[in-house]
Amino acid sequence: MRTLCIFGVCFFVVFTSCQREKRDLRPVPTRLAIYSDAARQSPLRPGGAEQPQLRVTNPYNGSAYDIAEGERLYEWYNCSGCHSHGGGGIGPPLIKTDWIYGGEPENLFDTIVKGRPNGMPSWGGRIPEYQIWQIVAFIRSMNGQQPRSATASRADTIEQNPQTIQNRTGGATK
């Protein structure tokens, strides 16, 4: 009975964590950006015509490894230089709900590949597509759109460690 129980727990852990621990050893470049336009579409449809939005699943959804990779790449490709750690700066924030060009995975993918007119560089051909998906997974994780189990609970950099924030009323010592 006890063995069965342990077996059961192990079974549960193995199966529920498999997505989280997944590693794509030979990532296949996704070709979405090449065959389709994934820019966000307008909800205003003349004559009430059907205009289904393309739905694509990010191959790295829920994968802790790929989200962590996405975070590394987000720094590596200087996304952080313009968007900071999600709060924005030169570019708009990436932690938000009011997306200009859409916040669904395929919208984010499309934005990164093509760039956007007001200063978002076009990264197509520069970042391999599987890495773009990893970055997309990371951006979604910043917005709480990835399973908690797959995202880091606490980052080790000053920007996300609230304990170290000096208060605004005179933190410096004379």
């Binding site: 200087n78 313009c82 924005g88 030169i90 570019g91 007001n118 200063g119 410096a172």
Partner: protein, 589 residues
């Protein structure tokens, strides 16, 4: 009785004549405003005297003008031939308003159509600091790194010269000056690994006459046989290459994004270069010449005559671009031609502007990153405990925007004081490896700023350049990010980021009048004589700039490192102001 009344009058009449003849800060004033800093000496002092301490409290709004834009409005309006000219942030419209008609209706608007993509390479909001008038033309720079000349009467473009490339991270935001027939302008992009330069363009044709880089071999920096720096550290061949590891000088910053002054007698222009790139100092061991450096050059050829590096191997984003006010002061018992430069590092430098010798460098803002300047070698004595790099640095002051940033001070020959709008910010940081990808940021530093001692994030103070100390200081909740203006009647004007436009008594800092504008003020106040003979005061309101990105850029304040770490210090700005550009013009009833 008779004599005692007449002799003083005689002396009073003669004195200004003598001093105006000898002193650069006392140039004649025609009541116009033809360049951002008012005059070549960059004093922002106006001789107009209708508005005085007795009547300033009656100052009333005369008229307003909406620019229709929502980014930071840092420019100084120009007033020439009864027309007021306003340059806006991107997309860099140039509005001409007719002062001879009631309500100053629009004469024309010139739209240079800079590419929207340029917004991606503007580090700290898509601002523009203004234009210069010369010989019937208005000259200014567009965000996508072009300099334009526009007919001041018709608004027609006369020439447009492309000076930089956004794909290298270059943009332009500074207000040019025109000296000896050359329009002089420099690039922005010290956070993008650009190679900084200053260029001189023929004012009639727009042809590039010279371009002086801040880094690289002497031939590119325009250092030749006439280069005579005061200190040993600046002598030697190709220091713009040798003080960098490998070829990093090619992406080392040193941009010329801010103020230029000009001394016609010495025939020298003065300007400072920006911080080195990347911010992370561990990626660029060495002095990183000629970043964070003051240059004295010939306006016609760009030839360097002397240079002085304020912050060798800068650790804190201390650009040297702040204003250089040219003064003739009595120091140590003799009259000296000096230049006053309130640096980002928090010190007010008084230099001999004939040769670059440092006469004093005392702090005007709270700082703990340096211990003084060695007057023998000219070198800043940095505090080794506050070096930044691949570690967590805490409690370093001033923060990257410095004791003060671009916001220009004013000088009054009446009071002999310099009026400094400034910051009071400290910071913590963590270095990370910056990866150079052209056209994207090259910084390598995660920063978080907060208020310095006292809790006020800004201040407006009066500095005595002879005694090298602060005479009075007014604390401000937010960084004082607007320019200053001082008049012959001892009134000093500036604006605050929560939208107040203030007039203080220049002798003691007492608040005499204030008006709440529609948005935070980060513009440069000016004053002029209208066609009706009345004195007016004008300022652009419209929050933004680096300090105001949190509002103008819609920052999410959960991330303190946003906007290069300024966000952490400004999370509450949105409770005090919203965005939107408007020109406010005031007069006595």
């Amino acid at each position: 009785m008779r004599t005692s009344r007449y002799i003083p009058t005689w002396i009073v009449l003669l004195l200004p004549v003598l001093s105006a003849y000898a002193q650069i800060q006392n140039q004649p004033d025609d009541g116009q405003w033809t360049m951002a800093a008012k005059n070549y000496a960059s004093t922002r002092f106006s001789a107009l005297d209708q508005i005085n301490s007795g009547n300033v409290r009656n100052l009333k709004l005369a008229w307003t003008f909406s620019t229709g834009l929502t980014h930071g409005h840092e420019a100084a309006p120009l007033i020439v031939n009864n027309t007021i000219y306003i340059v806006t942030p991107w997309p860099n419209y140039l509005y001409a308003l007719d002062l001879s008609k009631p309500g100053a209706p629009m004469k024309w608007v010139y739209e240079p159509d800079p590419t929207p993509a340029a917004q991606g390479v503007a580090c700290c909001d898509v601002v523009n600091r203004g234009a210069a008038y010369y010989n019937g033309k208005i000259y200014y720079n567009t965000l996508d790194a072009q300099t334009v000349a526009v007919d001041a009467n018709t608004g027609k473009e006369i020439w447009k010269t492309k000076l930089g490339d956004i794909n290298l991270g270059e943009s332009m935001t500074m207000a040019p000056i025109v000296a000896k027939g050359k329009v002089i302008a420099g690039n922005s992009g010290g956070e993008f690994g650009v190679r900084g330069w200053m260029a001189g363009l023929d004012a009639d044709t727009g042809k590039i006459a010279w371009r002086a880089y801040a880094t690289g071999p002497d031939s590119d920096v325009l250092i030749g046989s006439n280069f005579k720096p005061f200190y040993q550290a600046a002598r030697g061949k190709d220091l713009g290459v040798k003080t960098w590891p490998g070829e990093t000088w090619k992406i080392g910053g040193g941009t010329g994004w801010s103020w230029i002054s000009y001394d016609p007698d010495l025939d020298l222009i003065y300007y400072g270069t920006s911080n080195p790139g990347p911010w992370n100092p561990e990626q660029r061991p060495g002095d990183n010449k000629w970043t964070s450096t003051l240059f004295a050059r010939r306006p016609e050829t760009g030839e360097a005559i002397w240079a002085y590096q304020f912050n060798p191997h800068d650790d804190h984003d201390y650009d040297a671009v702040n204003e250089n006010i040219l003064l003739d002061l009595n120091i140590g018992g003799r009259s000296r031609k000096v230049l006053a430069h309130p640096d980002r590092n928090g010190r007010m430098y008084i230099l001999d502007r004939t040769n670059g010798e440092v006469l004093s460098a005392e702090p005007f803002a709270y700082q703990n990153t340096s211990e003084g300047v060695d007057l023998k070698t000219g070198r800043l004595k940095v505090n080794p405990n506050k070096a930044s790099g691949y570690k967590t640095l805490r409690d370093a002051c001033p923060a990257p925007p410095g004791g003060k940033d671009w916001q220009p001070s004013a000088y009054s020959p009446k009071t002999g004081l310099i009026y400094i709008p400034h910051n009071n910010l400290c910071y913590e940081s963590q270095g990370v490896r910056a990866n150079y990808i052209s056209g994207t940021p090259f910084v390598g530093m995660n920063v978080r700023m907060y208020a310095g001692p006292g809790g006020n994030r800004g201040a407006f103070s009066a500095w005595d350049p002879v005694k090298a100390k602060t005479l009075w200081e007014v604390k401000e909740m937010f960084p004082a990010w607007s320019g200053a203006l001082v008049t012959a009647t001892n009134i000093v004007f500036y604006g605050t980021m929560d939208g107040w436009f203030k007039a203080l008594d220049a002798t003691n800092g007492k608040l005499l009048w204030q008006f709440k504008t529609g948005s935070g003020i980060i513009g440069q106040p000016v004053t002029y004589k209208g066609p009706d003979g009345k004195q007016y005061v004008a300022v652009l309101s419209g929050v933004g700039g680096w300090a105001g990105t949190v509002v103008a850029g819609g920052i999410n304040t959960v991330d303190g490192t946003a906007a290069l770490g300024f966000t952490n210090a400004m999370t509450d700005l949105g409770k005090y102001t919203t965005k939107g550009g408007t020109l406010y013009v005031f007069s006595l009833p």
